[in-house]
Amino acid sequence: MSSPKYGAAFINRQSFIELDARERATALLDAGTSRELVGPFDRVESPWLPMQGVTPQEDDGCVVMKGKIAGQAAVVIALEGAFQGGSMGEVSGEKMTAALDLARADNEKGIPTSAVILLETGGVRLQEANLGLAAIAEVMASILALRKHAPVICLTAGTVGCFGGMSLAAGLASYVVLTREGRLGMNGPEVIEQENGVDEFDSTDHALVWAIHGGEQRVDMGLADALVDDDTPQVVDAIRRLVLKGPPPVHRSSQVSLYRRRIEALDASRQWDPKELRALWTSNGFREDKR
């Protein structure tokens, strides 16, 4: 019990995970600068959920907040994991796309504006199916257009994680920040088990789930840029540092030949211990370009 890990800092920390989307967005912006856009009082709700007997929410589970981070203009777009699993519908998707486009337009006008996207989502909202998928494609297009000018930072703190189509959005980001509780992957364990059987992925094997998708693994493999504790000041500090850093010279999703070589070198005839890949991908010849 006297382990320093559980000392005063641990006891007194301010959990970020326990904050809802609106509180998270406010916490990331400099004190007194945040202003919510198209908030709950604008009442732009999903037109598709009531048709299916599902209660919509006044913000459709997506909070857009403009303000400053480290003194620079920024927009934070936060998905609320507690509403429909953070899924992307028509309205939440368009909020994200439009906010990214407005940030890009400001950059083009000479006002440096970065974007922070808080992803707690399983991907497409199946009740809005094709409009959700289209929204994700448009979010991805807008991230690509904005990241040339200013960093687009994706943060997944937990507990939902970032899965489905929105994991591609995270893949396009300038930087990805994760907690140990945050997970990042394209197909969740349950989906893989359903599609290809329990031998392929036993979704009840929690150790396996975290070993593959967990924040620590993703950061150590070089797939994400910062691992932070579930501590609000630490999260805020990591985001500030990345905003001030500006966009990387080469984005991770553009390093095609490196990743192609990494995949080619894998023995596809067997499953791997996730730790093997950490060692392999950080070894000589497989290191990522300096970011």
């Binding site: 202003r35 856009l37 198209v38 604008d42 732009v44 709700e45 999903s46 598709w48 048709m51 299916q52 028509e90 309205v91 998707g93 368009e94 439009a98 407005l102 497409v124 199946l126 009740q127 809005e128 199916a129 094709n130 409009l131 959700g132 998928l133 289209a134 991805m140 297009a141 257009a145 189509g165 591609l168 995270a170 893949g171 396009l172 992957g185 394209m186 197909n187 989906v191 893989i192 359903q194 599609e195 290809n196 392929e200 593959i212 998708h213 993703r218 493999m221 797939l223 984005h251 991770r252 999703s253 095609v256 990743y259 192609r260 995949i263 894998l266 596809a268 499953q271 791997w272 890949l277």
Partner: protein, 274 residues
């Protein structure tokens, strides 16, 4: 329908390029070729099933790790070589049932592989390449995000063999806790949930729906017609902005995406205040 995945992809790749083989160093599941299209020499790409693929979860026409990175590399090749030249068109022929659902894929970060392919297509579009998608069969979920959904213009055949959707019926029913029949009847009233390509066309995301009498065995005349439509789409893309605004400004979107348009209008107005 799944047993036909890839048949149409190969048929149309061959019809439009005169061949159907991978480029050296690429997996057998990714076909790439340069072929004349109007006055251009276009690059065509297609993902097809390879029962002997290295990764076991990518042997039935899924887009897996190798497929995604091969697409990314072949699209980037065009961007790099045309930096100071006329931007050649890129045509994605789409007939993909899904992304690869596997443990190896997750461990080796298929999310990044898929993002890399989307990055390449999207970057090509932003660089001024007309990127045209031709959906000849299935275009499902993450596979479509990876291969096709970043295009300036999307064209699709209008028959029952074509399906653009977020998730196949059985899985969507399971996850939303509905019977497949219930899902189908809901899909009749709720256009974005429909599995019918003619309903998808109402959303305003498509540039054009094309009718081909025999999509698995097209006649020379049908092939010429499709080529003509692709050329028209390329010309239209070259005249237009490189972003995806056409999808929200279309006639269909004015009707079906009213909520999106409202969000954008309000956000633009409120962005400047304060």
């Amino acid at each position: 329908m799944s047993e036909y995945t890839g048949v149409r992809g190969t048929v149309w790749f061959r019809a439009l390029t005169g061949q159907a083989s991978p480029m050296p160093g690429d997996p057998n599941s990714v076909l790439t070729a340069d072929a004349p299209l109007g006055s251009d020499r276009a690059r065509f790409l297609c993902v097809v099933p390879d029962p002997h693929a290295r990764f076991p979860c990518a042997r039935h026409g899924e887009v897996g790790l190798e497929e995604a990175y091969a697409l990314a590399a072949r699209v980037r090749e065009v961007i790099d070589s045309d930096q100071d030249a006329v931007k050649r068109p890129i045509v994605a022929i789409v007939d993909v049932k899904s992304q690869a659902y596997g443990r190896r894929e997750e461990t080796a970060a298929i999310f990044l592989a898929a993002a890399a392919a989307a990055d390449a297509y999207g970057s090509a579009r932003l660089a001024g390449h007309p990127v045209i998608t031709l959906v000849v069969g299935q275009a499902l979920s993450g596979a479509f995000l990876t291969h096709g959904y970043q295009a300036n213009r999307i064209l699709a055949f209008d028959d029952d063999g074509v399906m653009i959707h977020a998730m196949h019926k059985a899985a969507a029913a399971r996850i939303t806790r509905r019977a497949v029949q219930e899902l189908e009847s809901l899909a009749k009233d709720i256009v974005p949930m429909s599995y019918d390509i003619r309903d998808y066309a109402k959303l305003g995301l498509l540039y054009k729906l094309l009718h081909v009498e025999s999509p698995e065995k097209p006649s020379p005349q049908e092939i010429r017609n499709v080529q003509g439509e692709l050329i028209a789409a390329i010309e239209d893309a070259r005249r237009s902005p490189v972003d995806l605004r056409n999808r929200l400004e279309s006639k269909g979107a004015l009707e079906m995406r009213k909520a999106s348009i409202l969000v954008r209008t309000k956000l633009e107005a409120q962005w400047q205040e304060g």
